[in-house]
């Protein structure tokens, strides 16, 4: 524990990866497939907020709200304009939808480059404070925002799926859509709600993390993969599982460069991914079914 700063870095990155994983999980539960456009929503959030504040001179809070609305609309479009028509034509198959959302990831990436330019932009500081000194470590405003956002999002989603009707219907719709329709559940409303919430969470995560070192149009793919791995490693047995997956990824991202070399961190991520795909494809926390 000599290097407290490293542990704060682990927590910050774990929160970011976990938030992306949580966004994946919402759509996995509600629609039954991995929406790889999550990384693009996060990138669009960070990039749009930065661009709106810089180019249009909007106040930070207004730029953030506008970026969240844009990401939410984009997520809704993914469901209504892309996934739903494709699943209608393919009899509800998930593979065509999966391919479509991957195409959506690349399409959003290119359109973002066209709309917002291909330069890196400085992220927006949501909490402008002097860095705090905690046990000799430096804790910045963006770090605090990312951690707070993770706490609020994970608690919020956990409560939402238990307390609200739409939340409780989420898993039923994702597990068996035809059965849910036969039962009269509003499957379309539930799915689109899951997409929009996931899009907004991913975008907010992108906005908060962009304040650390900026954001650019080509970040979406990398973030999509890290969020996906956070869910794969953590599992889908608990709404908090992606945070555990994110923590493991963050530990690798920080301590592999520290003890070995920065050039090995990508190999370490690849190795852990292969291990989980091969030996524990359902992740660390799986759903327990009582018979």
């Amino acid at each position: 524990m000599d290097h407290v700063q490293l542990w704060f870095s682990v927590v910050e990155q774990a929160c970011f990866f976990g938030l992306l994983g949580l966004a994946y999980m919402l759509i996995l539960e509600g629609a039954g497939f991995f929406n790889f456009a999550i990384g693009a929503y996060a990138m669009i959030g960070g990039l749009a907020a930065a661009s709106f504040a810089k180019s249009m001179h909007l106040p930070v809070w207004l730029a953030v709200i506008a970026a969240l609305v844009l990401a939410g609309l984009l997520a809704a479009f993914t469901e209504v304009g892309v996934v739903r028509p494709i699943q209608r034509r393919s009899g509800g198959a998930r593979l065509p939808a999966l391919v479509a959302v991957i195409a959506m990831l690349f399409a959003i990436t290119q359109v973002a480059g066209l709309l917002f330019g291909r330069k890196q932009l400085a992220g927006q500081q949501l909490l402008v404070i002097d860095p705090l000194q905690i046990a000799g470590a430096y804790v910045s405003g963006p770090m605090i925002v990312t951690m707070a956002l993770a706490l609020v999002s994970f608690v919020g989603v956990s409560v939402w799926v238990r307390v609200t009707g739409t939340g409780r219907m989420l898993r039923a719709v994702g597990d068996n859509r035809p059965a849910a329709q036969l039962l009269g559940l509003p499957t379309s409303r539930v799915r689109i709600t899951a997409f929009v919430i996931a899009g907004v969470i991913a975008a907010f995560a992108g906005i908060s993390y962009a304040a650390k070192g900026g954001v650019s149009w080509d970040r979406g793919l990398g973030w999509a993969l890290l969020g996906f791995l956070a869910l794969v490693i953590g599992g889908s047995g608990s709404w908090w599982a992606p945070l555990l997956g994110g923590l493991i990824l963050a530990l690798l991202q920080v301590f592999v460069p520290f003890y070995l070399s920065g050039q090995f961190s990508d190999y370490a991520i690849l190795a852990i991914a292969l291990i989980f795909f091969a030996f524990r494809p359902r992740g660390l926390i799986t759903r327990q079914v009582r018979i």
């Binding site: 870095s9 304009g81 330019g117 291909r118 330069k119 992220g123 920065g262 050039q263 990508d266």
Partner: protein, 406 residues
């Protein structure tokens, strides 16, 4: 109309409407400033390898915008030999593997000279093609000392001080500042990898490198590297990167870990004004960086005014812009001296006879010359200068401790 079609139409309309938000560093064009007769006849075609994606995209558009403005300026003043100059633009995306196809394409489209704005590794890859086609190729931003070496170096030229000169300048700075041991942090981009070796060799003669860190150029966190550097207890830290987010993250992390340890930077960061805002406020304070742009040089100030008028008030002067502009002007001067574009050997001979060119980079006394055996333009070390950042994360002026002499 079906719903998906409505969404698609809406998305396209939105994209077109929002495209006004784009800020890619481009801008307007030079307005005609003279009443010279409009150039006529077949255009003189100049090829340009300009990266808009890849590692070089952080600085290529800066140089490319100046080249475009320079061409517009030349054409507004009657062209070259009465003929208009026209640019043919392609992109290798900083990928050496794409170099042969892109350069072959430029040559087949009729380019009589090429400005290779991409990384030196790309130009190095296409040297045999350039030699075979006998097309004078200037790599204005390249600093790789071996780029103009034989074989296949007859038609390849660079302008500014090579990286081996950087070693001489920084060694002088370290000696003057009493620095004996440094930590080295670099990104893993091909461009920086090719530059780091010669620079570390040069540093080995004047300081001890106590920690040598290499991190992915797309890193989003460099706290681990900063912590390792802190553990090595260096007198100073040297950062070498393509700039942008990597360098901003590096200085943010290094500043929080070791606010009092001097930091030096070599690379593009000092001229990437957009990237300074990516760093934590105050983290660039006292950072010493080396660059070719010296705004106390009156020629540089003149070019800055000219390019600002051409490209708009958002234009930020950088040495890339000055290098791109100088590369174009030297090439066009050679074509003019050669008396046409039909004889590649004559253009090369004119290039080799260039002497005392007064560039828009470096200190005021800096000059560029070429001979048949000297294809690196820089005549002295004063094509380089050392500057420092202030507490507001913007350059505060020349470093008072040491400057390379002309």
């Amino acid at each position: 109309m079906k719903k998906p079609a409505i969404f698609a139409a809406t998305a396209v309309a939105l994209a077109l409407a929002l495209s006004g938000c784009a800020d890619d560093g481009g801008g307007g064009r030079v307005l005609p400033t003279s009443t010279a007769a409009a150039p006529t006849g077949a255009p003189i075609l100049i090829g340009m390898d300009l990266d808009k994606t890849g590692p070089g995209s952080s600085y290529n558009p800066l140089a490319g915008a100046a080249v475009v403005a320079g061409v517009d300026e030349v054409n507004a003043n009657g062209g070259i030999l009465g003929r208009p100059v026209k640019l043919i633009e392609e992109s290798t995306e900083s990928d050496p593997a794409k170099g042969p196809a892109v350069y072959q394409s430029l040559i087949e489209q009729g380019a009589v000279g090429i400005l290779g704005l991409s990384t030196a590794s790309v130009v190095a890859q296409v040297k045999p093609i350039i030699e075979q086609a006998k097309v004078v190729t200037i790599a204005p931003v390249a600093v790789l000392p071996t780029l103009t070496d034989q074989p296949d170096g007859d038609y390849v030229y660079t302008l500014v001080n090579p990286v081996t000169d950087y070693g001489s300048v920084f060694c002088g700075a370290f000696e003057k500042a009493g620095i004996k041991k440094i930590a080295y942090l670099q990104d893993d981009s091909p461009a920086i990898k090719s530059l780091a070796g010669p620079l570390k060799d040069a540093f080995g003669k004047c300081v001890t490198i106590v920690d040598d860190e290499v991190a992915p150029v797309a890193s989003t966190d460099l706290v681990a590297q900063a912590t390792r550097i802190k553990d090595s207890n260096p007198d100073a830290i040297f950062v070498q990167s393509v700039g942008g987010q990597f360098e901003a993250l590096a200085h943010s992390a290094l500043y929080q870990a070791m606010p009092d340890v001097p930091r030096f930077s070599q690379g593009s960061f000092g001229s990437q004004s957009d990237a300074w805002a990516l760093a934590t406020p105050g983290s660039l304070n006292n950072l010493v960086f080396m660059q070719q742009l010296d705004l106390t040089n009156p020629r540089t100030v003149d070019l800055q005014s000219k390019l600002t008028a051409a490209l708009g008030s958002d234009f930020n002067m950088s040495y890339f812009a000055a290098q791109g502009y100088d590369g174009l002007m030297i090439l066009l001067d050679a074509i003019k001296t050669a008396g046409g574009t039909d004889d590649p050997a004559a253009i090369k001979a004119a290039m080799d006879a260039t002497t005392g060119y007064q560039p828009h980079v470096g200190q005021e006394g800096f000059r560029m010359s070429f001979t048949p055996t000297k294809h690196v333009g820089a005549d002295s070390l004063c094509g380089l200068a050392l500057f420092t950042f202030g507490a507001d994360n913007t350059p505060a002026g020349k470093w008072s401790t040491f400057q390379p002499a002309c």
